[in-house]
Amino acid sequence: MISEARVEATIETIPVPRHIALVRVTHWIIVLSVVGLLVSGIGILVGHPRLYWGETGSLATASLIDLPIPLIIGPSVWYRPYHFFFAWILVLTGLTYMAGSFITHHFRKDLLPAKADLSWNRMLGVALDHLAWKRPDAREAQARQGAASTDAASTYNVVQRLTYLAVVFGLFPAFLWTGLGMSFGMTSVFPILATALGGHQSARTLHFVCVVLLLLFVMVHILMIYLAGFWRTVRAMITGYVPQGGRAR
């Protein structure tokens, strides 16, 4: 007969597998390309930091949003090739992630929420826990909800799952669509890329809205990493394992 304490001690010494190689490798490539896209994107944006709705817009017309950044002519020319370089890295890495995730059942296993978790009460509970600055600690969560719960440290909670799914299947495709909606070559074959969004300038404005949403996500994402234990979480995304037994920080 093994005592409960013995089991707990054994569990604590085994590192818990956290992220598969596909997720880890693509995650960091995507981080680098997003940083590259953000920097080059700002370089392009300062060429005309005004946003419009419809097909047309210029200094002679009313703007939707006037961004409080200086208008600098020049950088947009130099930054554009870099923007497309990083965009291609992001697209190819994203496609690899998508294909690999279907093959390894990453979406089904790690991101698709359990049916039982898809209730407002459940999601509100998770959200309130976060708002109450309760660190989503592994053992705490296990003690509270039992090992079978999806809220254990080795998996994502329902709010995380829905957020990641929205970013993967909503935000990143929206970036691509709004970007291609500005392309004369692409809209000559698929006019709907621009027309469905309201026009060329609308696509540009929505591309910017995507940036705002992505920055919001990144801020919350980094805050949560900090709350969950920065090095512990980052190490898991690098090595694939969550260190157990003793404090990682």
Binding site: I20, L22, P49, S58, F85, G100, S183, G185, M186, G240
Partner: protein, 255 residues
């Protein structure tokens, strides 16, 4: 269990990378063979330039048409981007309505030829209402009238080895010092022979205004603003891929 899963996914990722790398090698070979490699293919950013150009050339093959707009969509105030040249030579031409201006078409053509503005206006004319978007971010819609570049190239007799067309404007001393002085451009044959590619001498029903490129400018449906060379003076047909304006930007303007 967990170790096996980790290894399996590692192998999957490795196989995907290997497939991607060999696919890339084959793609580069085929791209070069079928003219899918742009002039600015070199260097790190050249990778992105090549992927964009090659994929767009594959998708837009068969002369896909840029969006055309209605008269009511025409912008009330089109944006002037850089004032017209103010050197004596240009001002003299402008003063007498470009009577002494000629456009020369040379290079890889059977019959090098030159046209006066009147001669160009005598060729079959057409109008297109197109979106003009600057890479800076602004855009306007205008109606452009002119002769198809394909018609003019046909008259000169483009030779089969032609791969690019060079468009040279008057040197413009007004051009910002941070940019190159003469914003000349090159286009591949797919865009040069495209049905929406005009040598435009009219804008919104009137003669092309000086600040918009009088007497003649290039106007393409599927390219961004900077590729639509203003103040044309010479067109050269070439097979040289390395002859293009190296200003640090993007060569292909269909983005």
């Amino acid at each position: 269990m967990s170790k096996i899963l980790g290894r399996r996914s590692f192998i999957t990722a490795g196989l995907a990378t290997a497939a991607g790398a060999s696919g890339l090698g084959a793609a580069v070979y085929l791209a070069d063979r079928y003219g899918l490699v742009p002039p600015d293919h070199a260097g790190i950013v050249g990778v992105g330039e090549t992927l964009t150009y090659a994929s767009q050339r594959l998708i837009t093959s068969g002369h896909s048409l840029a969006r055309e707009f209605k008269r009511r969509d025409i912008s009330k105030i089109p944006t002037v981007n850089g004032w017209h040249p103010t050197d004596e030579k240009y001002l003299a031409l402008l003063a007498d309505g470009f009577k002494n201006w000629r456009l020369s078409v040379e290079g890889l053509v059977a019959r090098p030829v030159s046209f006066s503005l009147e001669e160009l206006q005598g060729l079959p004319a057409e109008s297109h209402i197109l979106l003009h978007a600057c890479e800076q971010g602004w855009s306007y819609i205008a109606e452009w009238t002119g002769v198809r570049l394909a018609t003019v190239l046909d008259l000169a007799g483009t030779r089969p080895e032609a791969r690019y067309v060079v468009f040279e404007p008057f040197p413009n001393p007004n051009q910002s010092r941070t940019l190159v002085r003469a914003l000349w451009e090159t286009h591949d044959m797919a865009d040069a022979l495209h049905p929406q590619t005009l040598l435009a001498y009219g804008m919104n029903g009137e003669a092309l205004p000086a600040d918009f490129g009088a007497p003649l400018r290039l106007r393409l449906g599927r390219q961004m603003g900077w590729k639509n060379t203003k103040y044309l003076s010479r067109i050269v047909v070439t097979d040289r891929r390395d002859h293009y304006r190296k200003g640090g930007g993007t060569w292909y303007g269909g983005i």
